[in-house]
């Protein structure tokens, strides 16, 4: 992909982030009534309300508030949590690693399982394997990931105690321990996306198989793995990568529930508690972080897309 195109994509991403920042900022102002009173809760004293109002800067004009807030955000200062003295950045940094690791691993699971199952199904259309993959994919899409998580826990952690049922272990506790705590959450999170990818890959492979250039390659003597790798997969990957980009963001959202199932204290847990407590600075930080991650993921996908598709690269 040309540098100009990367810059344009980057610009688009920044614009989206700026708009997200406005929406995020406006969250507080969308609360019906006096936000400070609502946030403080029913049993709050007048002093609490005043403190919160000052904390959020609600006593100043909206535009001033936004500019102050945004300049803070740009300097990496998202304010402090309303109920602890910790800064939002610290609170997020503390819990982000498990969530990000699980999300990335889920993407890996989704791509490995989804793309290979979809490819096999697409190459053997109408076969028993194809029908099995299609059925499983349809089921996988209709299945809530947290239910799948429970079933996995019940089979692999309770009935057989092969893997830990809950919790997260940091890498410092050893690679094996770390990984064993990640296998079930990442699988549960990734399989729904794997199902979407499998369905899509199957369709794309089936479509590529009908293309004249595949026939040309066969007329040249190409077959088997050579044909699949060089002529089929590369071309089928172009639309699949787009879907993967859309799905990657969804995994970040899905991680919220998966954390709850596995009792992992990550970003999702932080966000859910913040919603229950109306801890707005934390929610704003969480939403912004997610937006940044999604924009980054999309940028990576765009780059991958350009790498796979020469038409984009040279355009």
């Amino acid at each position: 992909m040309s540098t100009r195109m990367i810059i344009r994509r980057l610009g688009g991403g920044l614009l989206v982030l700026w708009l997200v920042s406005i929406l995020t900022f406006l969250l507080v102002h969308l609360i019906p009534g006096d936000p400070a009173e609502v946030i403080a809760g029913e049993n709050a004293t007048v002093a609490d309300v005043t403190r919160i109002r000052a904390e959020l800067g609600l006593d100043r004009p909206v535009l001033t508030q936004y500019v102050t807030w945004l300049s803070g955000v740009l300097r990496g200062d998202l304010g402090n949590s309303l109920f602890t003295d910790k800064s939002v950045v610290t609170s997020i940094a503390e819990v982000a690693p498990p969530t990000l690791v699980i999300t990335v691993l889920a993407i890996v699971v989704a791509v490995l399982v989804g793309v290979s199952a979809g490819t096999v199904a697409g190459l053997t259309q109408g076969s028993r394997v194809d029908r099995l993959v299609s059925t499983l994919a349809t089921l996988g899409i209709a299945m809530p990931s947290f239910w799948l998580a429970m079933v996995l826990v019940s089979v692999f952690a309770l009935t057989n105690t092969w893997l830990p049922a809950t919790g997260y272990a940091s890498l410092a506790e050893g690679f094996g321990t770390w990984l064993s705590h990640l296998v079930l959450p990442a699988t549960a999170l990734g399989l729904a996306t794997a199902a979407e990818l499998a369905r899509h890959t199957r369709g794309c492979v089936a479509d590529v198989l009908t293309r004249p250039y595949v026939r040309t390659a066969r007329a040249r003597g190409a077959s088997g793995a050579w044909l699949v790798r060089r002529h089929i997969l590369r071309n089928a990957a172009i639309p699949v990568v787009t879907v993967l980009g859309l799905q990657a963001g969804r995994l970040l959202g899905g991680a919220i529930v998966i954390e709850a199932v596995f009792g992992i204290s990550g970003l999702g847990t932080l966000a859910v508690n913040a919603v229950l407590q109306r801890n707005y600075p934390v929610i704003q930080g969480y939403v912004l972080l997610c937006a940044v991650v999604v924009v980054l993921l999309n940028l990576i996908v765009d780059l991958a897309y350009g790498w796979i598709n020469p038409k984009v690269r040279t355009a």
Binding site: A217, A219, R220, P310
Partner: protein, 328 residues
């Protein structure tokens, strides 16, 4: 002299639904010569050419016949043996270069592919050879073009790339399926000139599938005229133009305003080609034939005519003499 390629009694079915998409097709391609396979679209000529290297769509089957190439029956080959022939001693050129080239692979890699597959060459060696081939087919700046993708080239250049890939392993036979149909008129002439050039220089045999009689006149030795799934007439190019042996052939000639002009379309024969399953019981051309007589509604066996054959009983019996486009 035994022919290089000999197709014998080739019959192609759509199992369960449609027997006789192609029926009892027999013809030869001589070493270093060009045989044309002509007919309107839907007459089975492309199916026939695909069947030779076993490239028919999955739903379609060869139910009878043999395809002898260099003493081997290709239809009886194992997939492995067939792969050695494809792109090796037999190269193929397809109709639409744009969709027939892989959009995600450089043209260099696509030309080099056959050498890597058949000769086991390493990528670097094969690419060096690909560069020479690009030069050979008349693409300027070959060293740079080797890294281009198909979409960065014009249709004519793409077709040159296809030809370069087809001759990469020094084949004895090229099967070209309407190689000029999708191209502009001026480009068509260039590509044909290139093919003729290569044929002469490399002593290639060519099976040219086309519906363009101008192309046939320019460059072929033998002609197979197909109509509605079987052969209407098999003759030499002179035979076809001076004394066609089937009313369909003469109708084709009449439909061309002036032989020798490029881009001649076959459009003014009244009626339509019947589709498989709806073939008349007698002569398949009878409903559209200007010379039809009641006996034509009886099945017509093929009869020898000169060195070739005709499926018109009236011509075979000498009852009917057709006029060619040219007179001797």
């Amino acid at each position: 002299m035994t022919p290089l390629l000999s197709v014998e009694g080739l019959t192609i079915d759509l199992p369960g639904r449609q027997p006789g998409l192609v029926e009892d097709v027999t013809f030869q391609v001589r070493e270093g010569h060009c045989t044309a396979l002509i007919g309107e679209s839907g007459c089975g000529k492309t199916l026939t050419s695909m069947a030779i290297l076993g490239l028919l769509p999955a739903a379609v089957r060869v139910s009878a016949g043999a395809v002898w190439f260099d003493g081997v029956d290709l239809l009886a080959c194992t997939p492995r043996q067939l792969r050695r022939i494809r792109g090796g001693p037999v190269g193929m050129v397809f109709q639409e270069p744009m969709s027939s080239l892989n959009p995600t692979m450089t043209v260099g890699d696509q030309i080099a592919e056959a050498r890597r597959l058949h000769l086991g060459e390493r990528r670097k060696t094969a690419l060096a050879r690909a560069r020479e081939l690009l030069e050979r087919v008349g693409i300027p700046n070959a060293a740079r073009r080797i890294g281009s993708y198909p979409h960065e080239m014009s249709g004519g250049m793409q077709q040159r790339v296809m030809i370069a890939a087809a001759i990469a392993c020094e084949p004895k036979l090229i099967i070209a399926d309407e190689p000029t149909t999708a191209l502009d008129v001026t480009i068509q002439a260039e590509i044909l000139a290139l093919l003729r050039d290569l044929q002469r220089d490399l002593d290639l045999a060519v099976l040219l599938v086309t519906h363009d009689l101008g192309v046939v006149a320019d460059f072929c030795d033998d002609v197979v005229v197909m109509y509605a799934g079987h052969i209407a007439e098999r003759t030499t190019v002179d035979g076809l133009f001076y004394q066609p042996g089937h009313p369909y052939s003469s109708a084709l000639l009449a439909a061309v305003p002036q032989v020798g002009q490029a881009r001649s379309r076959l459009t003014v024969i009244p009626g339509r080609v019947p589709s498989a399953g709806g073939f008349p019981a007698g002569c398949r051309f009878e409903p559209r034939c200007a010379h039809a007589e009641p006996p034509c509604r009886e099945p017509q066996p093929d009869a020898p005519l000169g060195d070739g054959l005709t499926r018109c009983g009236r011509v075979a019996s000498g009852e009917l003499t057709l006029q060619g486009a040219l007179r001797g």
